[in-house]
């Protein structure tokens, strides 16, 4: 067997349980996973922020960061150093405990969501049997961190931004959830590994005809809104609310919010890639064809990250193309368009699943 993530993790697991007693081995595994997740977060933060700045520059016919390091590659490293060195201020009127707790809540939620994600074949932190439902459940906690930050800052801009963001996340969770359910109906399981295995002979976006496309588009729109990104970024609309819920934050606490935003983008795009684009599953058509064998030579982790970064690019593309919406337009879009359409679409998907019209 070659060097794959599956073998490495299995070998480490076996070795730990053979060497130590189960409690110690479990603790060691927790530590390893914690370190890996934190490492992934810092790398993601650096890469995604640089990617955002480059993509935005290209779309606006600019050059983007190009001074620090070759082609500006170390720009985000320099920014991070600056943020670490900066003083973390706490306003006098703030509720100090909650003010300092909020960025960590947002960050911890982003970390916990990673648990059921499958990064490569057999490479997963926790193959929990409610998989996709876990994503929906935990992501609804992140709104609490934002509300806490907005409240504790004792600032009208923060409070308004937090309320907007809360209303937005609570509304858009519905249509995101419904489009996730449409894939659950087709795959017949909530477990992430089962959903990926059901795409062995083709990704759902190809197998499921038009209704899955509609679900995919609704999912992308809804998660863009849930991560508070443009064109739905009125929670931090610079022109009206300075910076929304993180107006009063500076230094490392601000950096945590900033990092959590990008990690959330990664997570929702990874979920989208898992549900609609087959996760780590290579591009397959049918079973046992020559084409499938060629595709299998590309490692599964590359497939997963390729799809995820493609979706991240699409969401960045939205941000640098569309103007920001008003709050009434935002709520109209959800309650009058996305929700009814996704409900009818769910019925269509159920029909397809019952009649077995997918390939």
């Amino acid at each position: 067997m070659g060097l794959s993530f599956e073998n490495i993790t299995n070998n480490i697991h076996d070795w730990l349980y053979n060497t130590f007693n189960p409690t110690i081995a479990l603790l060691i595994e927790f530590t390893i996973i914690g370190v890996l997740v934190i490492g992934l977060f810092s790398v993601l933060g650096l890469v995604l922020i640089l990617m955002e700045r480059k993509v935005s520059a290209w779309m606006q016919l600019r050059l983007g960061p190009n001074r620090v390091g070759p082609k500006g590659m170390f720009q985000t490293v320099a920014d991070t150093v600056k943020l670490i060195v900066k003083e973390g201020m706490t306003p006098t009127g703030a509720d100090k405990l909650l003010f300092n707790l909020a960025p960590f809540i947002v960050m911890i939620v982003a970390m916990v969501i990673l648990a059921p994600l499958m990064f490569a074949k057999g490479f997963q932190i926790w193959d929990i049997n409610i998989g996709v439902f876990f994503f929906i459940a935990i992501s609804s906690v992140s709104v609490i961190g934002i509300l806490m930050a907005g409240w504790a800052s004792n600032n009208k801009y923060s409070l308004l931004g937090a309320m907007r963001s809360g209303a937005q996340i609570v509304s858009y969770e519905l249509s995101a959830g419904l489009s996730v359910i449409s894939i659950v109906v087709l795959a017949g399981s909530l477990r992430v590994s089962d959903i990926i295995a059901s795409q062995q002979d083709g990704w759902w976006i190809f197998k499921g005809h038009l209704p899955v496309w509609i679900a995919f588009v609704i999912f992308i729109i809804a998660v863009t809104a849930e991560t508070n990104r443009a064109p739905f970024d009125l929670a931090e609309a610079e022109s009206e609310l300075t910076a929304g819920f993180h107006t009063e934050y500076s230094g490392m606490k601000f950096a945590l919010f900033f990092l959590a935003e990008y990690v959330n983008i990664f997570v929702v795009c990874a979920i989208g890639a898992t549900l609609f684009l087959g996760g780590w599953m290579p591009l397959h058509f049918g079973t046992g064809t020559k084409f499938n064998e060629v595709m299998d030579y590309i490692p599964s982790s590359i497939w997963f990250f390729g799809k995820t970064f493609f979706l991240i690019f699409v969401i960045m593309w939205f941000r640098w193309t569309f103007p920001r919406m008003r709050i009434d337009q935002l709520l109209n879009l959800e309650w009058k368009y996305l929700l009814p359409i996704s409900m009818i679409n769910l019925l269509l998907v159920t029909l397809i699943a019952i009649m077995k019209w997918y390939f």
Partner: protein, 171 residues
């Protein structure tokens, strides 16, 4: 004491500690946040019991739904940032007595009925829950499920009726 027991005691201490904080703090927003942590701790207990579906439902309903609603209503109240006045002594004594009474009552109930610890092996897969929820056979929950659905539908229709703008009268 193995790791499982340690985790149980840590989670229980967390739930009880945040629960006590939530009723003793004098800032109303903090009270809501402590309640939130207490509810998250309970969902942690469900995860510990390996009933993941119930745990996730606990988070979605209580944390994502009810606590967010509570926080929103706190945002809309006046002077919600101020510290509340200290509770009068009579009220403190009354609530302490209520707590003691509740504790004794529960303790006696558990003590007299002699509950046995289960062997911890029950199948709680989502597929089984779904089938049970919609089965019309023995131990099926189809009727309550439909009754609750009708209740929710009525609530939704009511919301829409209340939120609907009345058309301006034609002249």
């Amino acid at each position: 004491m193995n790791a499982s027991a340690i985790i149980f005691y840590v989670l229980s201490a967390f739930v009880l500690g945040t629960g006590i904080l939530s009723v003793t703090t004098r800032k109303i927003f903090r009270s809501a946040i402590w309640l939130l942590f207490s509810l998250i701790g309970i969902s942690g207990l469900y995860f510990w019991l390996e009933v993941e579906f119930i745990a996730a439902v606990q988070i979605v309903l209580y944390v994502g739904g009810i606590v967010v609603l509570i926080i929103f209503s706190i945002f809309l109240t006046q002077q919600s940032g101020k510290e509340m006045p200290k509770a009068p002594l009579t009220r403190t004594i009354a609530s302490a007595l209520a707590v003691v009474f509740g504790f004794v009552f529960t303790y006696l109930l558990i003590n007299q009925n002699n509950f046995k610890a289960g062997d911890g092996k029950f199948d709680m897969s989502v597929a089984r829950i779904g089938n049970q929820m919609l089965s019309t056979g023995e131990n099926g929950y189809a009727l309550p499920f439909e009754a609750v659905s009708i209740l929710l539908l009525a609530a939704m229709v009511g919301c829409i009726v209340i939120a609907m703008k009345s058309k301006p009268e034609e002249k």
